[in-house]
Each structure stands twice: as structure tokens, then as C-alpha cells.
Symmetry: none
Subunit: 320 residues, 2 copies
């Protein structure tokens, strides 16, 4: 087989030479053909061969390149329909920097549509920050619907409810949920959900075209606990039951499976949309949230994600 191999080698040599002249020296294929004494088509084939044989490696030296790469790997690995990765600023301690801006950008993209859409919104600091980045616009054709209540346990309006802010910013019809996040009992939850004011909202939420929500961790300083939606005892119980994160108050374990019982029996939020075409985009980044994000994407609780480089890299690594 020696002659064959020689042939292949010189073939690849020529291909490499053609590829070099094309990509490094910037020749046209006509020039290459002339220099190597072959026809233009043969030169084209050589260049093409050099590419298909993987001889030619293209790299992009820009932070954004890495982001795009991570995004496409996230999509592939977790079956996401949407993924965006923003650069990480190692110096910043913000839990929303970048993600908020990118989230706002993506929201604006949807809202620019002249077709009426239903946009569902969760709560949380990240989402709040995203809404703040949203440029005001006139969108009377759209509807924004809250997926979760805005009533704190003490009866006040929860600070991180964002439905009013977004409605303000874009002048769309808004559908808030005048509910607590977590009811005092399963029965109360059922009762609340049958209310005349709530049912249409839940129905609207179920057919949202796109959903933006945050992901909360369930560490000792879980937002759900800090904001008073669960007691310390309840938090401990959730942790003990294996919960690593929550979305809209729904707790799930490290595989992204919803917990049975505990506070999940009493969560008054709408279910996380999961209809066929519905895009459910989570905005979240940070080491603390990473297990929660990993679980959410693994369990297909969301099919879209906006995060940062560091978190994206960690997600890919943890699941390899």
C-alpha cells in the first residue's frame, strides 16, 4: 500500500500548500492554480480538501467568539432552543451584569413584533434588572402575564415582582397575579386558583409565546427565604429533600425533577410553561446558582438560557 499512502501524502501536501496560499497568503484560486500548475478547478478542490480534512483551523480571538461557542455547545448538550452567553466580568460581583442587558435585548426582539404575542414573566432580582434595561416602547398589541404572585406573606407587594415595571415600560396590557407565591395550604392554593380574577391569567400564562424567568438557588441564603416566602425550617426541609433550586417557587432536585410535597404542594404560581412551541428562557448566572441552572436545563424545565461565560463553562464541564 506504499504507493497509495505516498499518493495520499502528496495529495494532502498539495492541499496544504493550496490552503496555505489561499488562507494565509490570500491568493485567489486562479493564482494558486497558476502557481501550482493546475487548473482552477483543481485548485478549488485542493483548498476544499484542505478544509474538509481539517488542515485549516480558523479561530476567533475575541471574547464574543468564546461566548458564541459556549452558547452553541449549551444548545447541543442540553437540547436548548435558545442560548445566549455574555462575557464574564471577573471583577464584578453583580449577579445580573450582562445577563440583564442581554435579557432585555431578547425581550425587545420579541416585543418588536407587530404580531400580538403573549409574554410570560417570572420574578426575581435578575428579571428586575433586565426590565430596567428594557427601552421604553409602544406595544399595545402584546400581553404580558405574570407567572407568579406579588403578595408577600405580610400582605405587602413583593419588591421583586416585575410585571408592573415591564407593563409600564412597554405599554402593553398586563396581567398580574394578585396571589402569594406560596399559599398556606394546598387547599388555599386550589381556592385561590379558582378565583375569577386568577383563572384567565393562568390560562393566558399557559399559552404564552415566550417566557422569561429567573432561577433561584436554595442555599442558606436562598432568595425564597430572604424574601420571606419560606421559613428557615421550610428551607432546611427543602434542602434535606434534595432541592437545589427553584423557579417561580417550584423546587426541584439536582436532576431537575420537581419535588413532591413540602412547599411544592402549596406553590400558588402558574406552572412553568411547557407547551410545544413555547420558548421558556431562564436568566441566571453565578456560581451560587450554577447547580440550580444545571438541574433546570438537565430536567428540561426551561428550553432557553441566558447566562455568562463562566457559568456556561461550568455547566458544560459539570455535565460532561
Amino acid at each position: 500500500m506504499a504507493p497509495k499512502r505516498d499518493n495520499n501524502n502528496t495529495r494532502l501536501d498539495d492541499a496544504a500548500r493550496a490552503g496555505w496560499l489561499y488562507y494565509i497568503a490570500g491568493n485567489t484560486q486562479d493564482e494558486i492554480a497558476a502557481k501550482l500548475g493546475v487548473s482552477r478547478q483543481s485548485a478549488q478542490r485542493m483548498v476544499s480538501l484542505a478544509v474538509t480534512e481539517g488542515l485549516v483551523k480558523v479561530r476567533l480571538d475575541h471574547p464574543i467568539a468564546n461566548c458564541l461557542d459556549l452558547a452553541s455547545r449549551l444548545k447541543a448538550q442540553f437540547g436548548l432552543r435558545f442560548a445566549e452567553v455574555v462575557p464574564t466580568d471577573p471583577a464584578s460581583s453583580s449577579t445580573t451584569l450582562g445577563v440583564a442587558e442581554a435579557g432585555a435585548e431578547e425581550m425587545a426582539r420579541w416585543l418588536k413584533s407587530s404580531e400580538p404575542i403573549v409574554m410570560a414573566i417570572g420574578t426575581g432580582r435578575t428579571l428586575k434588572a433586565a426590565i430596567e434595561q428594557l427601552s421604553p416602547m409602544e406595544c399595545p398589541q402584546h400581553k404580558v402575564v405574570s407567572l407568579t404572585g406579588n403578595i408577600a406573606p405580610d400582605g405587602s407587594a413583593a419588591f421583586y415582582n416585575v410585571i408592573f415595571n415591564i407593563a409600564d415600560a412597554i405599554h402593553a396590557r398586563s396581567f398580574p397575579m394578585p396571589l402569594p407565591v406560596i399559599a398556606s395550604s394546598p387547599e388555599e392554593r386550589e381556592l385561590l386558583h379558582t378565583q375569577a380574577m386568577i383563572r384567565p391569567v393562568l390560562e393566558l400564562a399557559a399559552r404564552a409565546d415566550v417566557t422569561f424567568l429567573g432561577i433561584g438557588d436554595l442555599g442558606d441564603d436562598a432568595p425564597l427565604y430572604l424574601d420571606g416566602f419560606v421559613s428557615q425550617a421550610e428551607l432546611k426541609a427543602l434542602q434535606k429533600a434534595g432541592s437545589v433550586g427553584e423557579i417561580l417557587g417550584w423546587s426541584f432536585d439536582s436532576e431537575g425533577r420537581m419535588l413532591e410535597g413540602l412547599t411544592n404542594e402549596r406553590v400558588a404560581s402558574a406552572p412553568i410553561p411547557s407547551g410545544g412551541n413555547a420558548l421558556v428562557i431562564a436568566l441566571a448566572k453565578g456560581a451560587k446558582k450554577q447547580p440550580a441552572i444545571a438541574a433546570a436545563v438537565k430536567g428540561r424545565l426551561v428550553n432557553g438560557l441566558i447566562t455568562d461565560e463562566a457559568t456556561a463553562a461550568a455547566l458544560l464541564k459539570s455535565e460532561r
Copy 2:
């Protein structure tokens, strides 16, 4: 300046994104235009910008047989410890094409080491071009030290001094030499070299692990003369004394022997490193430089060489 910079940054970001979609994801410019919501022409411009800004790096992963062969013969014939030969583009008049890319690659290979190293750097157009090809990386553990001054005779910073560029690109500690290339007298040279700021740099240079430098010819349009470091009269005198080339300003004859007297008495650069394990790699190609390169390798002034096929072949032939 903030808005300007922002603008530039987002411009480059967009360019990078377009470049990524084009070169990595294989989109056509029409598709990119659609995805980014711009016209086809703008997409084309972005891709083009990504290329001209050096965001896009193309590498060829195939040692062309002839180049390898030439490299190993160079090593054998001149006792080089390192030799790399890149293809020649006969039509190109560039004096750096290919050599710069290969040099950058070799530098990157050294810089990837987690062991702290000292890298010494010369000057010149070739080296400048090589640094431009170097991918940004984080190398706080390494030190880069300039072997030669960066002060032109008129007091300005010489354009082809590259120490700052490389330090920028790799975030290593840099040690420039705030000196002229050639002092006005031997006495001034001595004086300069005893300065507190210079001595440590010279000492560091002397123990560099690896050195990259260019080779200059001493024809009528010698870079040393073009850049104003020597007068025409001095150049003529050097030529008359048999000088065929210079490294860091040090002139040598066709056998690679350092000239006595003349400008060599006043060169303020560090000596060319020649310690036991130190690898001294010259980047140079081209017919004009060929006698200088031949002399440098014959006289063992360098023990590494990156050049192109045509020059390599000529070197081997001339010395057979």
C-alpha cells in the same frame, strides 16, 4: 472618550459575531445579515472587519513535506536546535508573510508553559508582524524583556519596538530598554548601561530562556539606515568593512563574525544571548536578507531559525 470606546467595542463585538457565524458556523453573509438584522453589505463589512482587525486567525495544521525536509536539513547543516520552514508565495512581496504567523505560533507554545519563563525580544518589522499574530493570553507568570532600545535618534519611540505590543497581548511583566539603539559614543554606551534602570534588564536578558529576534540586512536600504539609527556614511563604512547583516544593531560579516569598531563600539543593545540552554530564534526570510541569515547561522549567532522555503533552499545551496 467613553462613547467612542463603547462604539468601537460594540463594533468589534458585532464584527466578531459576524466572523464567528461566517467562519465557524459556516453561514453565508446573507444568512448572517438576516440573523443580525442588517443588510448583506453590512454583514460583509463586519466579516471583513473581523479579518482586518485580526480577530480571525487561520492556521494550517499540516507540515508540508518539503518544508519539513528543508527544516531538518537546516538543522543538520548549521547545527540549529530549532528550525521551521513555511511555504513561499512567489508572488508576494511581503517580507513577513508566513514567518510572522509561524513565529507567533512558536511564541505561544513557549508562553503556554505554566513554569515562569523569561522571553527576550528584539525589534524589527518581522517581529512586529509576528506579535500582531499572537493571540491574547494571560501570562502573568512570564517576563518579556527587550534586548534593544526603543529610542530613535530624534528622541521619539522607535516604531518597530515591539516589547510593549507583546506585553499588551499576553499580560506579562515587561522590561523595556529606555535606550537608543546606538549610542553616540562608546563612553555614552557604558554610562547608559550602568544606569539603575538598565542593569537589571540586561541581567534578565542574559538569562532568557528563549529569544526571538529579527535579522537586518546591510544593503543600501538597510533597515538600520532607513530608521535613522545609522547615517549613510556609517552604513557605507559598515559595508566597506565587510558587514552583511545586523542583529539588534550588532553588525557581522559574511562568516558571522562580529565587526570590531565602527558602530559596534557604540551599540547600546544587550548582547545576543548565547548561554548554554538559551534558545535564540531568528525570524527572517527573503533574498535580500539571505546573506545576513546565512552569516548568522554560520557564525552560530543564533541557534534557531524560522524562514520560508525559498530562503531555506538558498541557504542550503549557498553553503553546500
